[in-house]
Subunit: 303 residues, 3 copies
């Protein structure tokens, strides 16, 4: 997938034109039948920086495993169940206005686990559960005690027009543990889709930040109109932020979409959230307390 | 493409045998039909160092865009119009004797623009024009003012046996601007091809270096004989250089060529140009004022 | 190939669970017919770190060359003849218990040559010879004298149930030269395979370390039972080590194998060999003089 855009970014102090590569990627994947009714699965996916060259091999979801009637087990480095909830309801994923500009603004969840083992249950009448354990989120692992391990779990219900899921994730470390709870839902009503996300994150022992997001998309055939708003309610004074995003996209082929988006953040005096840096290249943080905005003309090409 | 050679290199002081990987590469590209008679295009190309491992993802021409009756627009990182002129007339591209050993000897043009937007006009009776703009040649871009932007433009005429093109390129920076004008031509006369290149480069406010190159190739069916000479006329004392290259290549298949080349540079007292380092791995700069030479036995395998 | 495992590693002091990517890789290769009855060959192979992302392009065997009745010539970076001997007889290659945990324990052979030229003779009644020369094992090469060159040669006999080979390798450097002689053999007797390896390595001018290994594998159709033992006889006091490995593997498809292995090293007071770090990610060296062990549950998926 090539996802490129030309952006007009303003961080409150300076502004500039920017060419951005937005989580563009290249991957290989496959399935093979095994004995006992099992299937082998694998994927190797790498980020490609179309704008500046570079990117690390296997930097995106990369795994191998086995699936069958028992569910799925896989090993590798890939999105956690908690992260997956956001990608299901974020109407501006990888674009200006991406929800992670708020959900990651004070603590960095929405990541992939390294050195991880993932089990997914079979689908039971629309419900399934995920458990992912990382032996070590920091590096290649070792023979020391598993001091930097982490766990992420979720339960998902999906049936017809309704998607609803809840997830919990905890990162352990010798210093301090971090955890978050997240609830996400989406509902289709004719040509309209409504989305919502709630997150409560324990940033440290004394602080719990809350985030809330809502979105709506209106489908007109090849064209979509969409809007979402995310709010950070930080557990310290004068550190809240609000992000509003508006967009229109149009399909030129089943695998080629062009779009125009506008998003901005409004920050309290001690907050510097912007609407354009997460999952994208380029842009600098907002000046403290200022309004940062981005206008983006982009294309998404799934080759 | 695997392009490898065994070289006998002499920098004027020392000499050695060397195995060189010469802009070897691996890429992916494609096209898809879109609505309104448009086509989506993309390419991801990475250098592969066959001799020493390594190379950065998407380090060569990497882009995505749209083409149609209006021409072509693409975003990414790729050769500028100025650079393209040289590759059209350089008879020793990526080999010992590559013209860039002279054209880059005092100032580094012949590069790719990062963060760039490129528009090419439709072909009009053999003529077309290119405009490429980089929002920032240095890095991933930002919301600061576009202080490091750059532009490269060219006009090209191609009809039957004649190719002729002119290009202008300017790199801006807070410190000092650089610019170059280049003219290139090639003409086929039976089995002979004649080529020429002229470049005038503003190295800094007070200095303008001129470069001149001529080449000739004689086609004998599967075998070619070829020669070219490039001259640097530097705008400071005792810094001129001359490069002469001679070669023979033979096709073993439509996608497999072997060759033997010899090239040398003759340097003024304060110049250290060599004929073997550009676009290739290995080799050290000439000793100041010395003659550097390279004898290369190579293969080019376009898989 | 994805080769991943979940390991329980103990270095004598600490222990932990670890997810390991074991020389997992992705590659491209091909052949084309040329004139004169020749064939062009190439391969580009890169390590993929499934557990932590990353890996360098073309970090594994990467080459291009020509083969025909005269034998094969290729240029690039790839396993030396000396290294190849081990991979032919190591029953735990890339797994816990890999022979390189001993053969590399005091001096690092079993590598790829950079900047190398390789000639292999035609097969003559089961016998063939290999000569590989590296102009420079350290870096991209240069015009200095070839002070860091290296050579590796081998003779191999393979006929029916018998494989036997001998190899010699020498690394030159301005400081000190290193060399090793290696003998390897394998013999199939019904469902049993017996393997053996002997290595004598000149670690420096005054020290010659010897290593010995034996292995046996019993084939039960889709399942194999296997064991091997490697011994380091170091030419200094109290620096010997012994490694024992036991394993069972089972094929779930022609390209998918699961296995369970257990291996440990027993070290003299001044030795810290472990059975799990070579060709694999994760794990820390044994504590001096302690016993290090690893239990590994893995899958090998050749896609």
């Amino acid at each position: 997938r090539a996802h490129l855009s030309v952006d007009f970014l303003d961080n409150g102090d300076d502004s500039a034109v920017n060419v951005s590569s937005n989580s563009s990627r290249l991957g290989f994947r496959g399935k093979h039948d095994l004995d006992y009714g099992l299937r082998g699965i694998y994927q190797i996916e790498s980020e490609i920086r179309f704008d500046t060259q570079g990117g690390e091999i296997a930097s995106r979801d990369t795994f191998a495993g086995i699936e069958g009637d028992f569910g799925m087990v896989r090993l590798g480095k890939f999105d956690t169940p908690l992260k997956t909830l956001r990608s299901r309801v974020d109407l501006f994923g990888d674009q200006v206005g991406d929800a992670r500009n708020i959900t990651r603004s004070t603590v960095r969840f929405d990541e992939r686990f390294r050195n991880s083992i993932h089990y997914r249950t079979p689908n039971m009448a629309g419900f399934f559960a995920d458990v992912q354990y990382s032996t070590n989120t920091d590096n290649a692992g070792g023979t020391d005690d598993n001091d930097n391990d982490a766990i992420s779990v979720s339960g998902t219900y999906r049936n017809g027009a309704l998607y609803a899921a809840i997830a919990y994730e905890q990162h352990n470390s010798p210093d301090e543990d971090l955890s978050a709870v997240r609830f996400a839902a989406a509902y289709d009503l004719g040509a309209l889709r409504f989305t919502g996300l709630i997150q409560q994150a324990d940033v440290d022992d004394d602080r719990t930040d809350n985030m809330y997001g809502v979105g709506v998309r209106y489908n007109l055939g090849l064209t979509n109109l969409k809007a979402q708003a995310y709010l950070l309610d930080a557990d310290v004074d004068d550190a809240d932020a609000t992000m509003v995003a508006l967009g229109v996209d149009h399909r030129l082929a089943s695998n080629f979409t062009v779009y125009a988006n506008y998003a901005f953040t409004s920050n309290d005096d001690f907050q510097n959230a912007d609407p354009y840096r997460q999952a994208r290249s380029g842009g600098t943080a907002a000046a403290d307390g200022e309004t940062a905005s981005g206008l983006s003309l982009g294309m998404i090409y799934n080759f």
